[in-house]
Amino acid sequence: MNSSVLLIPICVPFVAAVLVMLLRSRPSVRDCVPVAGAVLTFGSVLSLVPHVMQGGTCAGTLFTLYPGITVAFSLDGLGLLFAGTASGLWVLASLYCIGYMRSLDEHAQTRFYVCYAVAVGSALGAACSANFFTLYLFYEIITIFTYPLVAHHQDAAGYSGARKYLVYLMFASKACLLPAMALIYVQCGTLDFAVSDIHKGIFPAGGSRVLVSVTYALCLLGFAKAAIMPLHSWLPAAMVAPTPVSALLHAVVVVKVGVFSICRVMLSVFGTELLVQYGLGLITAYVAGCTIIVASVIAMTKTDLKARLAYSTVSQLSYIVLGVALLAPNGLVGGLIHIPNHAFAKITLFFCAGAILAATGKKDIRDMGGLGYCMPVTMAAFGLASLSMIGVPPVSGFVTKWYLALGTLDRSSVVLLCVVLFSSLLNAVYFGEVFVRAFFGTPSGDAVPKRLERKPLMLLMVVPLLVTAVLSVVWGLYPDFFMNIIRLQVGS
């Protein structure tokens, strides 16, 4: 298929960003542009689904810097999974943004919408990358353009959070990704991904084991957006951003780009055979396992709702890495399907946190007693999403946990099985607390009026979060849609 079709979903968000900038003096028109852009983007991604499902790829080269170093795009199952999730959730998030930004009367909304659209567009670019350089290019654009979003409030907390964010991400990419890219080029003579076969990477046979392992470690550290410990603490710091940013970007787009990149590098650069041969997969799995447990424990200690969600994200992202690092079909399925599953559930949770903040101004979990009676829809959605996080059927998180557990058994690793099971318990503890407080706790402080959710602006927030929560259940009952896409990549 012609590669120009592939450029549409990548370009639309950038065009939307430019339009937002041009229409800055007319807020009502300006706010509609991202919604229209999101719908168009999602539509164009969906239109590619049948083609990709039939095993076709669309590939094309935009620029050639040097033989082997190009800006080129191609779309396969893994890319489609991520691109579809990101663009689909952008539609809901762009509606939510309007409600949130207007409810709280935030400043610099034009800048906000511009950076938001560019970040999403770059994520789609990363999803469609055909080589390491293109991936790196979009990865870096995301870093730069999300900085203004994190620093949005322009107060001391905003600056220090944004600074930490930038230092972690830039340092990791400059210190690790850049040499990793150079090393891959020196060893392989190209940066193109081997997209068709996940078993064989691009490394020539008979390379130095040390050099390959170092390159792999640099990649793992360099994609710090995946928030694998010890390079995770930028994520809680980034929670100073407005909630729609935390919701779409720091639960779906930005962090998933990190995870997606790691998966891509493992499957399309190194290939499963090489990783198994050098024993790199299992080490990665253990690192991810540690992250899962430690982050969950830290999450239990946090009383700020967004901070708790942030640490939960750190832990959940590592499920994806863990699953892929098992390098067995079941593990791969469990890991990759967690990309959409976690996205739908976590964005719901953040949407809820934002809706609570906009309606009541509450951030601390201890103040949320009795909130379930003021915001029943929001808290019900929160409950559903929590079930997905814990992995209770029929919500989608169960599918993840099931395949992950099967994957650990395939590798006969009892330790990793215990990690998966024990972390579910921890999830239940820290999400359960919020839910229990909301419905069974005693109200603290001033009495909060009921029927908070009926204001027009609140509806713009409540409807999206209800939709994402319901979709979480739908994917739990009918996971085949995502499964079929993943099977394209993994093979049956």
């Binding site: 600056y159 830039m170 400059k174 210190a175 850049l178 080029y185």
Partner: protein, 501 residues
């Protein structure tokens, strides 16, 4: 002698004309009295020179390493001294960089220079002529004349139109460069005594003994290391940059520093290849030191111009590293990095000039929180700063990445030691950007509605035009460096054969 040259089929002496146009323009400018007319005249001369140089790019034969558009006239037969000029892929690119940046230098001084304008235009045009001369000379005597010819105008630029510390800075610049020139002169006399010719391509092919190579190499190397400037000879650069007027800084950063790299490629490597390989570890070490020290010092600066000056030290460390790695990617990367540094750092100095004209200060603490006040300016500044830190998709990335690849190819240790330099470049550039766009020096909250500073106007059309042109180059080279690599490749390959690397 003719076997090294490719003469112009039409016999049109394009290179001599390129030399003479700015020179004639300089002389004529002394007779113009009206200020506006002077500026327009300066702009016209530089633009004509640029337009004259552009056909070189299209007519250049990419398939040969020989010196093209050559002209040969006998000059002093007793000394076997000829007037001979010509360009290859390496000098063509640097020549184009020079001619394309000179109109910017006039434009960025449009309102900044108010006194002695006629002399200013005279000096700038004289400078352009000498710089072109250095790149087209194929004869050590000619080369040396133009090399010295650059020294005086640059000294004047700093000493007459410079800032408060101009006396110190200009003398320091003069002395450092003069010391280097003396070494260069000695090396050139030695070359003549040993080989009996002044003709550079013949000198390249002359087999010097190892001990002679060492003398030649060290003499040339000191001269060019001061110019580029390589650690530990770099201390003149920040002083000169800070005090020079904007046009002076642009010329200094974009072209003058490149003379050092050009000298390495023209003299050190091809004439003394064995000595170069022998000294390689030392030079690689010094280059790495320059990268790290330059970056580290840039990180601590409050003066934006000084910050960029130290970043130049680091970037030129990348260049000299690429050159002395002596492999294909390294040389390509070094030449690309020279061009890119010329464009990016020139643009950054123009940006600093713009803000200096408005706030009268180059201090980061004064020029902070501009994001809301001058959004267009900040957008350009960000593009150039990102290019300087090697952001993918911009020109800065291409050269840097090639040099990193070259370093890893040559020796993994060199590559590993180079990485902190890349990290530092991100650190100081982002620190600068962060402070200029968002907050004051302490990172305390400065809300955009603060009004303690007089309203600053965003960039004007004149400034915008310069920056747009440079931005186009940033992305064009960043995404499509192929044409440039094509131009340089024959010469680079020939150079590699000469070095035997």
């Amino acid at each position: 002698m003719e076997k090294y040259l490719v003469f112009n089929s039409s016999g049109f002496p394009i290179l001599s004309i390129l030399l003479l146009v700015p020179l004639a323009g300089a002389v004529f400018s002394l007779f113009i009295r009206r200020e506006l007319l002077l500026k327009v005249w300066g702009l016209a001369v530089t633009v004509v020179t640029m337009l004259l140089s552009l056909p070189l790019y299209f007519l250049f034969d990419r398939g040969t390493y020989k010196y093209q558009f050559a002209e040969l006239r006998h000059w002093i037969p007793a000394l076997k001294l000829d007037y001979v000029v010509g360009i290859d892929g390496i000098s063509l690119l640097l020549l184009l960089l020079t001619t394309c940046l000179m109109p910017m230098c006039i434009l960025c001084s449009w309102n900044a220079i108010r006194e002695r304008l006629a002399e200013f235009i005279f000096v700038l045009l004289l400078m352009e002529s000498s710089m072109i001369g250095v790149f087209v000379s194929l004869n050590t005597v000619l080369f040396y004349i133009f090399w010295e010819g650059m020294l005086i105008p640059m000294y004047l630029l700093i000493a007459v139109w410079g800032g408060p510390g101009k006396d110190y800075a200009s003398i320091k610049f003069f002395l450092y460069t003069l010391v280097g020139s003396v070494f260069l002169l000695v090396a050139m006399i030695m070359l003549y005594i040993q080989a009996g010719t002044f003709f550079i391509p013949q000198l390249m092919d002359h087999p010097f003994s190892f001990i002679n190579q060492m003398f030649i190499f060290i003499g040339c190397c000191i001269a060019f290391a001061i110019k580029i400037p390589m650690y530990p000879f770099h201390t003149w650069l920040p002083a000169a940059h800070v005090e020079a007027p904007t046009a002076g800084s642009v010329i200094l950063a974009s072209v003058l520093l490149k003379m050092g790299g050009y000298g390495f490629l023209r003299f050190c490597l091809p004439m003394a290849p064995d000595a170069a390989l022998y000294c390689m570890p030392v030079l690689l070490g010094l280059s790495l030191t320059a990268v790290i020290i330059g970056g580290y010092l840039a990180l601590g600066q409050q003066d934006i111009k000084r910050l960029i000056a130290y970043s130049s030290v680091a970037h030129m460390g990348f260049v000299s590293l690429g050159i002395f790695l002596c492999n294909e990617q390294g040389l390509r990367g070094a030449l690309l990095e020279m061009i890119n540094h010329g464009i990016t750092t020139g643009a950054l100095f123009i940006c600093i000039g713009i803000i200096y004209e408005r706030t009268g200060s180059r201090d980061l603490r004064v020029n902070s929180a501009l994001g809301m006040v001058m959004p267009l300016y900040i957008a350009f500044m960000s593009i150039f700063a990102l290019s300087a830190l090697g952001f993918p998709g911009t020109n800065g990335f291409v050269g840097e990445f090639f040099i990193i690849i070259a370093a890893f190819t040559r020796n993994t240790l060199v590559g590993v030691l180079l990485i902190p330099g890349a990290v530092l470049s991100a650190a100081y550039m982002l620190r600068m950007l962060q402070k200029m766009i968002w907050a004051d020096s302490d990172g305390h909250s400065v809300h955009p509605v603060h009004c303690d500073k007089p309203a600053l106007s965003d960039i004007t059309w004149r400034e915008g035009c310069m920056l747009v042109v440079l931005t186009i180059f940033v992305f064009w080279i960043g995404l499509n460096p192929g044409p440039l690599i094509e131009v340089m490749d024959s010469s680079i390959m020939h150079l590699l054969r000469q070095v035997g690397g």
